[in-house]
């Protein structure tokens, strides 16, 4: 929840940066240096913050035409499996992105203009993935509680 709002704040900031930079380019011929890099890196931050929130709201697209009329217990079981799969995969992605981040830090990868350290953003993504994985593992508990509660 707070993550999503933080993500939105970063997104708004990103929009403002770009608008200022474009205005600067046309009216004062003084664009903000490296604005595309800021946007590029911030996109990663925004998305990393959005992913866990999306899973908590079960916002991921599923195909439910064929299972819409199936018994509720079956649907819930499948949703739990789906959520656990998501958790597992994002845990794997988190680990390897973290690993990739370590490599980026070791080689000192930086962006062209602003010399931002790429590994900061690798680790932000890894952190977002980790939270998404946790959301994937935690959601089944909420689903089960819901199901028990409504019986």
């Amino acid at each position: 929840m707070w993550l999503a709002l933080l993500g939105g704040a970063v997104l708004t900031l990103m929009a403002i940066t770009t608008v200022l930079s474009v205005a600067g380019r046309y009216f004062f011929s003084a664009p903000i240096q490296g604005d595309t890099e800021i946007v590029q890196m911030f996109t990663a931050v925004v998305v990393a913050l959005c992913l866990p929130y999306c899973q908590m709201r079960l916002g991921n697209v599923i195909v439910d035409v064929l299972t819409a009329s199936a018994p509720r217990a079956f649907r819930m079981t499948m949703d739990i499996i789906g959520s656990l799969l998501l958790g597992g995969l994002f845990a794997i992605l988190a680990y390897y992105t973290y690993d990739g981040g370590l490599a980026a830090a070791k080689y000192g990868n930086e962006t062209m203009m602003l010399r931002m350290k790429e590994w900061y953003f690798y680790q932000t993504i890894a952190f977002g993935f980790l939270l998404t994985a946790i959301a994937g593992f935690a959601k089944p508990i909420a689903l089960l509680a819901d199901y028990e509660g409504s019986k």
């Binding site: 939105g8 998305v47 599923i62 299972t67 995969l89 992605l93």
Partner: protein, 437 residues
């Protein structure tokens, strides 16, 4: 077992778990990981994974997605849809079926700010449906027109699906947006013709509304100014080369916030809602993008798309026949899946095949033309049963209209979609013709 057969089996596996409610992006990722591990091995894939998520997410070309989503969500709450509907209605509302015409026109204009079908259908629906009900419009016409009008949201640029297509096929986004212009206008005209014909045949479907005075028209025009500035700024800026698409999207976000503030529609609470909605949409789209990325890494490793393309060329089928077969696949899939997943899933497989055939056009022209046709056919899925997301959302907003009526109401609009696809197949120049050299 050859790697192509493994690819085929993995596609099958993916579809099966997808239909068993596994989220689409996750289904792609699972089958990608398994398939890659069978053909090569898991440790090779891990090398790829170390950098792939960063490459996908820290991307300047994908930055437009959260920005356009944010803009669309803000626009939906900014009162823009009301001014668009009122504005168009003041001029054509007094004709028979005029409110339905105004709703389609409003959808077309709203589509120029919003890149999503559902958002367009839902926002226009909540404004236009009560008005049509008050004037005694038949439920089938009212809901059919809005469900079909919603598809204009994605057809008329900016369009999230076109952005994804551009990235997948390495085409120029601006040129794709231009190529969608004429088909978009054709869609609006086609839908309006349908409404005119339907009310001609069934005069009791729609009452005439009172004619607006010139004073009222003037006021309606003034209300249209902020929204017009917004899309002239966003689309004109992109076409005119003033903005890159992500700059235009950023400008659009700030502009929409300004309009919403002027209309006194924006509170901290609704701004928070917009952010949450955007976060959910963004998360959803990026799960699919990340899943498709891994799945496509596996597909290209398997060599399956190239084999399929070679095989199609070997069979000596006429290019048109191949294209028709693909469109048939889209129609079937479109009944079950959402548009974005379909594009991410099928374009990497179909695109090489299409590009290896000779349609008598340059490489770029074929790519643009195929993209627009795919987009339209995929959108048809939004209004066909059994999934037809637009139909459901409109039916939900229109209290008391039976589902059957809405589906019947959509049929004539579907017919106009088919006519448009056939026209575009026969005259590809309608897509890339307006792009300056």
């Amino acid at each position: 077992m050859s790697s192509e057969i493994i690819a085929g089996l993995m596609i099958l596996f993916m579809l099966v778990i997808m239909f068993l409610r596994v989220p689409i992006g996750i289904a792609m990722m699972v089958s990608g990981v398994i398939g890659y591990s069978i053909i090569d091995d898991f440790s090779t894939l891990t090398y790829y994974m170390k950098g792939s998520s960063f490459a996908q997410m820290a991307s300047h070309s994908l930055a437009v997605i959260p920005l356009f989503l944010f803009m669309g969500n803000l626009a939906a709450r900014s009162g823009i849809s009301r001014s668009l509907f009122v504005g168009v209605n003041a001029f054509i509302g007094h004709r028979r079926g005029g409110l339905a015409l105004a709703a389609v026109g409003g959808c077309g204009l709203f589509g120029a700010i919003c890149g999503s079908s559902l958002a367009t259908a839902a926002t226009m629906g909540s404004v236009a449906l009560p008005e049509m009900k008050r004037h005694g419009y038949h439920g089938a016409l009212a809901t059919g027109a809005l469900a079909a009008g919603g598809t204009l949201g994605i057809l008329i640029p900016p369009s999230i699906v076109l952005i994804i297509y551009a990235i997948l096929t390495e085409q120029n986004i601006v040129k794709l947006f231009m190529a969608a212009m004429v088909p978009g206008v054709m869609a609006v005209i086609g839908y309006m013709l349908v409404i005119a014909i339907v009310v001609k045949l069934n005069p009791h479907y729609a009452d005439k509304a009172e004619k607006a005075s010139w004073k009222e028209r003037g006021r309606a025009l003034i209300e249209l100014i902020p929204a017009s500035l917004l899309f002239i700024g966003v689309l004109g800026g992109i076409y005119g080369g003033v903005f890159t698409p992500s700059e235009a999207a950023a400008y659009g976000v700030i502009g929409t916030i300004a309009i919403a503030l002027i209309n006194r529609q924006l509170t901290w609470k609704s701004f928070g809602e917009c952010i949450k909605q955007t976060a959910t949409n963004t998360g959803m789209i990026f799960v699919i993008i990340l899943g498709a990325d891994i799945f496509n890494a596996f597909l290209s490793l398997s060599g399956m798309p190239q084999t399929l393309a070679d095989w199609i060329v070997d069979t000596n089928m006429t290019p048109m026949l191949v294209l028709m077969l693909m469109l048939a696949v889209y129609l079937v899939l479109g009944c079950l899946m959402d548009s974005l997943s379909m594009i991410l899933l099928t374009v990497p497989i179909f695109f090489p095949a299409i590009m290896s055939l000779d349609f008598g056009m340059t490489y770029e022209q074929t790519a643009l033309w195929f993209g627009i046709i795919c987009l339209i056919v995929v959108e048809v899925g939004m209004i066909t049963p059994p999934v037809g997301m637009n139909v459901f959302i409109i039916n939900k907003i229109a209290d008391g209209v039976p589902m059957r009526d809405t589906f019947i109401g959509v049929l004539p609009f579907l017919a106009s979609d088919f006519v448009r696809v056939i026209l575009l197949l026969l005259f590809p120049v309608l897509t890339w013709g307006i792009i300056p050299d």
